[in-house]
Subunit: 94 residues, 2 copies
Amino acid sequence: MSKEENAVYIGRKRIVDYCLVVVTIFNKGGNKCTIRARGRSISTAVDVAEITKRKYLPMVEVSDVKIGSEVLESDMGPKTVSTIDITLVRKSGK
Amino acid sequence: MSKEENAVYIGRKRIVDYCLVVVTIFNKGGNKCTIRARGRSISTAVDVAEITKRKYLPMVEVSDVKIGSEVLESDMGPKTVSTIDITLVRKSGK
């Protein structure tokens, strides 16, 4: 996961905290936002995308979902974890 | 999530148990398999797809990932949960 503009990295905060970050990106005029997560946070990333879309930003839709793997260095040697990238975009004309 | 042919529903078993189900589908000549999960099992679904592809079935690729929401009836009234459908297909010519 390389750093990029309008990327929201999901960690251990509450779902609503991440929803607020996404809402702020679109309210400031952003047209695109990528929600990224690894490992156990993947379920939270899907919750953030779905809840934001349903409750806060009806003019936004999921344009792409990518899954992958990444090798992380840990104390016990390299460890492969799953990743997800969910791209939200403003619907055309909204 | 409606029942369909070659769908693998992720629950509380071990990741490797689901990988084996997917491997069996493709080894029996199947060309497509959909891994489906709800809620906290979504992370496991991504693990199953990625590990199966990487370790057991290099001739298989992810053709589509869909996320969504579903309303479940629970003791405490209706509850909305996130869902994921990951479609694996045999690469052409493999």
